[in-house]
């Protein structure tokens, strides 16, 4: 018979305390400055370095790790190391395209030169703002202008006088009205009235009318000449203005050209600026702003068209940029074109082009959260497009998808040379890798962070140093040696493994900060282990409302869980519930019923779709194990049902398969199961009990129920042997075990579990292949044989009746 004591764990096996003997320190002040969150993350760190070193296309990096794993800081610090060794990237400016203002030009300057160019252009504008009106107000210009105007007036007047004189010779006066001219016949220089005219002989009247008709046509011809004279006048003034402007702006523009002689695109632009100012000289003569802004809309030039929109400014950069965009929406990544309202219309120009994170990071590194990016529309497609095209084209998503037909700015694309470091959960990486072929082309490097490290002396020491650094960096009270040890132990508990240490940074920082808080509450200068303990307990207390409600329900027999006595076909299984980041275990009653049948085991959870795929798999495995173990040479003539009683939510995982098989065997054999025990573990087809997750929470969950009903020394939990290394149980559980009030049994096989749960030897086959009488297995086999025979007899009778 399985010896209970041989599988019973000692208190020492339930918790692995920290061994910090090799680290000499009293508190964390003795250790600061020696830790690194990168410790143990060699694979991921090497991958990031590799990705950053690879200059070829597509070697962008995806850092895989859970939230709070310090993945951002790791990626950023490595990127910074690389960035410091590189020169700052160039500056980029957008300037007006005088030929096609809808398509602003992009100018590239050496780092810092963009600012200089912008300032130079601003100075030029300021200079021109004063110089150009001054030129137009100069005496010299006025004289020349007056001469042109006089000449034009003289021409017009000469034309009119000639006509007037020729009309007068024919006794016709030219009268001017506000809108035109009237030709009136005269006699003795006096306009004829109707009566005077009618008094004239018919022939003379006829002549006058003919004269007026003829002169009217001449006058019309004469008037038609006027626009040409005025046009000539305008052209002459324009020519004069151009001459004056050339002199006014020639010198300052020449100075700028000399300064930017190395930047060919800037020279071309300055040529255009010069030409544009000269051509639009007329517009610069207006020195006073109109009383209402709209009076100037679309009329005449403005100095703002010569401004420079400095999109990327690396004047103060010491190396390549490392940019993290916390809100990776489309405009923040790709850039945007802003508008401002003018009389109800939205207007824009090259000055309102705004760069995005891609621009800011060009020549360096851009860190983006994968989940945030994917949850914002259009960003992923736009990012891919930019990386594949190696340019950033600023356009609205509507334009990008061809949804807009209105005219919008089309800024020249800016070359892109950036290394993307995307940070996300593992599942997200695999999801993208599987579903987007371009993802693999663009993100060739995966930096997979370790969730936990082996709990070796070296790694423990590194964890201690890291704790000291965090304490120091966050300005917390020094942690005493025992407090550090307790934190290390909690790292193991977080890893669900006494032999490993979690690398999760956020939970570490949270625990340190909260421990510091509780130390502060008691006015302590240093943090002790009791503060860490308090922090852990308080965190659980804040989160365990649902757990307490469940325990309360069990105590009040609303949820039926027996913790004493024996029952046939009924066993206490163990489940773990997760609420956010808080997990807790609790017992769950599993029952099995059996009868004659054709070998099917009905998993009620699966039938009603409350059981997940893994749970269903577990039930199928135990069915196979049952058949293989007891009905190898006879038909399995059994029908069984397995139920998780009072379970109304979904259940997954196979960690209850040992419990389910035990309930089944109890039901078949009629041997009752002790209700003071709970069992967890999965089983394979050969009856081997296998490791399961959440072992600590499960044990503690049953312990809490038993404790509430007063521990009597018989309570305990049966767990897989392979889970012993994962045990990091609560102090009170360990203490209860040490006091003999509670037990934890570790088993390797279903037989060991059955023996413990029933108190009856499971039994092994002897040399003849038979189970010893009185054992559970014997009873099971006999009952199955009975079912088979009964079924056969029933079948024969039925055939006989037919």
């Amino acid at each position: 018979m399985t010896n209970e004591h041989s599988v019973k764990l000692s208190a020492a096996e339930l918790y692995r305390a920290s061994d910090l003997d090799e680290i000499v320190f009293d508190d964390t002040r003795d250790l600061s400055g020696r830790g690194s969150a990168r410790h143990g993350q060699d694979r991921a760190v090497d991958a990031v370095h590799f990705g950053l070193e690879m200059a070829d296309d597509g070697y962008n990096i995806f850092v895989l790790g859970p939230a709070g794993s310090d993945r951002h800081e790791m990626a950023r610090s490595i990127a910074n190391e690389h960035a410091q060794k590189q020169p700052p990237p160039p500056d980029w400016c957008y300037v007006n395209n005088f030929d096609d203002p809808v398509k602003p030009r992009a100018l590239r300057f050496a780092a810092g030169q963009g600012t200089q160019f912008r300032n130079d252009m601003n100075s030029l504008i300021e200079e021109l703002r004063l110089a150009i009106p001054a030129v137009f107000e100069s005496d010299d210009y006025r004289k020349q202008l007056k001469a042109v105007e006089k000449e034009t007036e003289r021409r017009i007047e000469a034309e009119h006088k000639t006509f007037e004189a020729s009309a007068k010779k024919e006794d016709i006066n030219v009268l001017q009205t506000p809108t035109g001219f009237v030709l009136a016949p005269t006699r003795d220089d006096k306009v004829l009235s109707d009566e005077e005219f009618n008094a004239l002989p018919e022939e003379e009247r006829q002549q006058i009318q003919e004269k007026i008709e003829r002169l009217s046509k001449q006058l019309q011809t004469h008037i038609e000449k006027m626009p040409r004279i005025r046009k000539d006048h305008i052209e002459r003034i324009k020519a004069l203005d151009r001459d004056v402007m050339t002199i006014a702006i020639g010198l300052p523009i020449a100075e700028l050209k000399k300064r930017y002689a190395q930047v060919e695109a800037a020279l071309v632009y300055l040529d255009d600026v010069e030409q544009n100012i000269i051509n639009d000289a007329q517009g610069f003569r207006q020195t006073e702003a109109p009383s209402l802004p709209f009076l100037n809309m679309g009329q005449g030039p403005s100095f703002s068209r010569y401004e420079v929109n400095l999109l990327i400014d690396n004047a103060d950069s010491q190396g390549a940029p490392v940019v993290y965009e916390p809100n990776p929406n489309y405009p923040n990544i790709i850039g945007k074109i802003e508008h401002h309202a003018e009389l109800g219309a939205l207007v824009t120009d090259f000055r309102l082009i705004r760069g995005g994170a891609l621009h800011a990071a060009s020549g360096g590194y851009l860190l983006i959260d994968a989940w945030r990016m994917l949850s914002r529309p259009f960003v992923w497609e736009a990012l891919k497009q930019s990386l594949l095209a190696k340019t950033v084209r600023i356009e609205s998503p509507g334009e990008s998808y061809g949804l807009l037909s209105t005219t919008a700015l089309q800024p020249a694309p800016i070359p892109l040379d950036v290394k993307i470091i995307m940070i996300g959960e593992r599942w997200l990486y695999y999801l993208m890798a599987q579903n987007d072929p371009e993802f693999n082309e663009l993100f060739k490097v995966a930096a997979d962070l370790e969730d936990d490290l082996e709990r070796t002396a070296n790694n423990t020491q590194a964890a201690v140093f890291l704790i000291a650094d965090v304490v120091n960096d966050k300005g917390l009270r020094p942690f005493r040696r025992d407090a550090v040890a307790r934190v290390i132990e909690q790292r193991a508990r977080r890893a669900d493994d006494s032999e490993r240490l979690s690398t999760h940074m956020r939970s570490l920082v949270d625990l340190l900060q909260q421990s510091n808080h509780w130390a502060g509450r008691r006015d302590a200068a240093t943090v002790e282990s009791e503060d860490v303990e308090h922090a852990i307990a308080a965190r659980i207390h804040r989160a365990d409302r649902a757990q307490r409600r469940l325990l309360d329900a069990i105590e009040r027999d609303v949820l039926l869980i027996d913790t004493s006595g024996e029952r046939v076909g009924q066993v206490n299984g163990l489940a773990v519930s997760s609420l956010g980041e808080y997990r807790f275990g609790h017992p769950i009653r599993i029952t099995a019923t059996t009868r004659i049948g054709s070998g099917e085991v009905v998993d009620v959870e699966r039938e009603v779709e409350l059981g997940g795929a893994v749970h269903s798999k577990g039930v199928l495995i135990l069915s196979s194990a049952l058949a293989a173990r007891y009905a190898a040479d006879m038909p399995l003539s059994l029908a069984a049902s397995i139920v998780f009683e009072q379970s109304y939510a979904g259940i997954d995982g196979d960690s209850a398969s040992v419990a389910e098989l035990c309930a089944l065997l109890s039901s078949i054999s009629g041997v009752p199961i002790k209700q003071n025990l709970a069992v967890t573990g999965s089983i394979n087809q050969l009856g081997r009990v296998q490791v399961i997750g959440g072992i600590n929470e499960k044990i503690e969950g049953f312990f809490d129920v038993c404790k509430a009903r007063d521990l009597d020394g018989r309570h305990g939990v049966v767990i897989p042997r392979d889970n012993v290394k994962h045990l990091m149980l609560r102090d009170d559980v360990v203490a209860a075990v040490a006091a003999g009030q509670f037990s934890v049994f570790a088993v390797r096989s279903i037989d060991e579990a059955v023996t413990l749960l029933t108190g009856v030897e499971a039994g092994e086959r002897n040399a003849q292949g038979k189970f010893e009488q009185g054992t559970v297995n014997y009873k099971v086999e006999q009952q199955l044989l009975h079912y088979a025979q009964a079924r056969q007899a029933f079948s024969s009778k039925a055939k006989a009746r037919q």
């Binding site: 009268l175 809108t179 035109g180 009136a184």
Partner: protein
Amino acid sequence: MNAVVSKHKIVIAVTATSSAKPLWRAAMDLLARAEGELIAVFVADERWERAAGLPFTREISSITGTASAFTPERAQDLVAASATRMRRKFEKMAARNSRNMVFEILSDVDERMIDRLVGDSQLTVIASHELSGSPVYLTLQRRRCEIVLVGDAGLGKPVDETAD
């Protein structure tokens, strides 16, 4: 001995095609030297009325060169519109300069109205050159009024319509 001190009147005489601004400036210059009553007079050109009475008279647009009938109604409308426009201009300028001003319309052949305007005042008339030789000009000369001709509003010169 009692001396009769005559009242000083400054009269700005404008036509439909006069530039109001230079005339106003000239009047202001005069008033700065010697105070007097300010009167703006719109002189209706009687030749328009006579010409409009002829059935074949056409007005040829100075902008487009197109011809349209120049009827007595059209002539009256032009006079009324021009007078109104001038009155508004002068009122505006008077308000801006805080001046009291009287605005009148007279026909250049109505000597009775001219006599009433002159009365026993010492009259200084500021007029544009286009009025020289007109009936009203000759009448004022005969009444020994001081006439100051301002500007050079030759034929075809654009009418001053700019904001004052």
